[in-house]
């Protein structure tokens, strides 16, 4: 069964450099290789500006990569043109962070949900299209009485449900969830996370879940990739990453989360110094070196490669690779 071994989504040395005024280059995504098998969820974590959202958008070709490939079911979609891109989007969708700025405020809920169905001419008449949209409302837990409401009348949680219904409307196989719960309160966040997990199970969806919140990503992911300044620094199964974090940056991220547990109150919070360096005209060498306590001579000037240390656990750090 060769089919089985092909990951649903694969990127090969995906790279995006933005040209800035004066000829400098902003390294947003710098050589990312990921594989996501069908039905799996890959969590992508990192701080603002690390390129995590750009990866999601590159995969959907909402922005064009500078170099590298994106394979969907083994097929290189980075060369697709016009009609092919249009058709490809039926299989790949995105849920955006801010459900308010990503939808047209002058369309009603049902129109918003039916929008993609009209664009792709899925049904022959309006009646069928709106019926399907109403079904989608049920699926994401939006009461049908909101069908003719406008987005400003709804709260954040319901607006995000519209975003989810839109993404689901074309029966995609793969959905990029770009910080879908970051703007929501905890009690609503839990509702939306559960909904996303239920939908995944029901429709065998494959997710790439982009977030800055490690505790959220742990709940929903099978694998987690940690990014820092456009590079993947560590990738592992979700439980492995939390039990045995290798990269100093992953450790720092984990240590920086304030935990709702007062027994850990007086433990010294290990705080990394400094701030994320600029992604403009990056020099070779480990991107994290300037903030790292374990920085060695070779970390400056040489790029650490992502090396597998144990089954499915890869890390890009000279020291950790040597140690294991």
């Amino acid at each position: 069964m060769q089919e089985k071994n092909i990951p649903l989504i694969e990127t090969v040395e995906l790279r995006k450099l933005f040209k800035l005024k004066g000829g400098s280059m902003l390294h947003a995504v710098d050589g990312i290789n990921i594989k996501i098998s069908s039905g799996e969820t890959l969590g992508v974590v990192g701080e603002s500006g690390c390129g995590k959202s750009t990866v999601g958008r590159l995969i959907l070709r909402l922005i064009e990569p500078t170099s590298g490939q994106v394979l969907f079911n083994g097929q290189d979609i980075s060369k697709f043109k016009g009609r092919q891109v249009h058709d490809m989007r039926r299989n790949m969708q995105i849920i955006f962070q801010d459900p308010y700025s990503s939808i047209d405020p002058r369309m009603s809920v049902i129109e918003l949900i039916a929008e993609y169905l009209f664009i792709h001419k899925v049904f022959e008449n309006k009646m069928e299209t709106f019926n399907r949209a109403a079904e989608l409302m049920d699926m994401v837990g939006l009461a049908r009485r909101y069908a003719s409401s406008y987005p400003h009348e709804l709260d954040g949680g319901r607006r995000q449900r519209i975003g989810i219904a839109r993404a689901l409307s074309l029966d995609p196989k793969f959905i990029v969830c770009d910080e879908p719960v970051s703007a929501l309160d905890v009690s609503i966040q839990a509702q939306i996370l559960n909904l996303l997990m239920d939908l995944q199970e029901e429709f065998k969806l494959t997710y790439m879940f982009v977030t800055h919140d490690l505790s959220v990503v742990k709940h929903i992911s099978d694998k987690i990739m940690v990014m820092y300044l456009g590079k993947c620094v560590e990738i592992a199964d979700f439980d492995e990453l939390f039990e045995n974090p290798l990269h100093p940056y992953t450790n720092a991220l984990l240590a920086a989360i304030p935990e709702p547990d007062i027994s850990r109150r007086n433990k010294e919070m290990k705080v990394i110094r400094g701030e994320v360096a600029s992604p403009i005209n990056v020099k070779p060498g480990c991107r994290f070196a300037a903030r790292c306590d374990d920085c060695m001579e070779m970390c400056r000037g040489n790029d650490p490669e992502l090396i597998e240390t144990s089954n499915g656990h890869s890390v890009a750090c000279f020291k950790r690779v040597k140690a294991s």
């Binding site: 701080e47 603002s48 709260d155 954040g156 949680g157 309160d185 905890v186 009690s187 609503i188 966040q189 839990a190 509702q191 996370l193 559960n194 997990m197 800055h212 919140d213 490690l214 505790s215 959220v216 742990k218 709940h219 929903i220 439980d239 939390f242 720092a252 991220l253 984990l254 240590a255 920086a256 989360i257 304030p258 935990e259 709702p260 547990d261 007062i262 850990r264 109150r265 919070m269 705080v271 990394i272 110094r273 701030e275 994320v276």
Partner: protein, 337 residues
């Protein structure tokens, strides 16, 4: 200085009720709350968006939007003096000088066309009359050093600072007059986790060194656990539970809403995949339920909850507003069965 013979109570809010009135509706943002900040301690005010946390903070400083916001009743005592009775001139002496505030978004609370040094100096000069220039400058440099910014950077403009650094500048301005009370409204929400950890550590450190009392507004129970001494949980304009962190985080009696909040938090240490959300949504503050504000979402709802608003039940410092813990609970409970 005023006498303080009240167990170190610095700020005492009683029965505060704040409404926003527009032509269309009246929003009951804060309903008869009680709140106490003790000298040298940090009170965490937690709650979800729209719970009334920021409105509470703005009423302490009397900064509610003049066109719509009204304090209907209650009193806010600062050092034993009811500041709701002060006129605007006297309020300006307190505001920024004795009670300072750090706002959520450091990007919008700094003046983009003034150097950060001048902005800190402005606060010092405003509250210290005729302080000589040299001394103002010295204080600016000291305060920058205190918040971990190199004093040379006082000549730079806000856009030259990163988000975390800007928030340090805002904190420097707030602390420049050595206030007795610092109100910090979601001071780290706009920051990345590693920067948040740096800023929180700095706030804790300065608070301990200067002995400032703090009212920390946040939606993050993790931050409360790591920085606060006391907690008040706010829901739909009411403080439904308050006490020491031990009472609220590990106590055996808990408001169902607080319990629900803890359950819906994604836990780093648990193996469970599914979360336990609180069903439903916060009620519309222009149309609050007649009984307990949490009743429509509550798993322990009884008949009485829909009819009567629960009064607070107090045990030591722990105060709960829930019929489950009301004195006549047993009889009501049977009725519900």
């Amino acid at each position: 200085m005023l006498e303080n013979n009240d167990n170190g109570v610095l700020l005492n809010i009683e029965n505060l009720k704040v409404v926003y009135k527009t032509d269309l509706e009246t929003v009951e943002a804060v309903n008869n709350i009680f709140l106490t900040v003790t000298r040298g301690r940090t009170l965490g005010l937690v709650g979800e968006t729209g719970a009334g946390k920021t409105t509470t903070a703005l009423s302490i400083l009397r900064l509610l939007p003049a066109a719509t916001g009204r304090i209907e009743s209650g009193k806010i005592e600062f050092n034993g003096q009811d500041i709701l009775k002060l006129d605007e001139n006297m309020m300006r002496v307190i505001r920024g000088n004795r009670i300072a505030m750090v706002f959520q978004d450091p990007m919008t609370s700094l003046n983009p066309v003034m150097t950060v040094g001048d902005q800190i100096a402005e606060a010092i000069e405003l509250h210290n009359g005729k302080m000589p220039h040299d001394e103002v400058n010295r204080r600016v440099e000291n305060i920058l050093q205190m918040v971990g910014i190199m004093p040379q950077r006082r000549l730079e403009y806000p856009h030259q600072f990163s988000g975390g650094m800007k928030q340090r500048v805002v904190i420097a301005i707030a602390l420049s007059c050595e206030p007795e009370l610092l109100i910090a409204d979601e001071p780290t929400t706009a920051l990345d986790v590693t920067i948040q950890a740096q800023v929180l550590n700095m706030i804790k450190d300065l608070r301990d060194r200067l002995g400032t009392a703090m009212l920390l507004i946040t939606h993050d129970l993790g931050i409360v656990a790591q920085t606060c001494d006391d907690v008040a949980v706010m829901y739909a304009g009411e403080i439904i539970e308050a006490g020491t962190v031990e009472d609220v985080f590990t106590g055996d009696r808990r408001h169902p809403y607080t319990a629900g909040l803890f359950n819906s938090l994604p836990d780093l240490r648990s193996q469970a995949k599914r979360l336990i959300p609180i069903p439903g949504l916060m009620p519309d503050p222009s149309n609050l339920p007649k009984g307990c504000v949490f009743a429509p979402r509550c798993g322990n709802r009884m008949d009485i909850c829909e009819k009567e608003r629960p009064g607070p039940v107090q045990k030591a410092k722990h105060r709960l507003s829930c019929h489950l813990y009301s004195l006549d609970r047993s009889s009501q409970h049977q009725e519900a069965m």
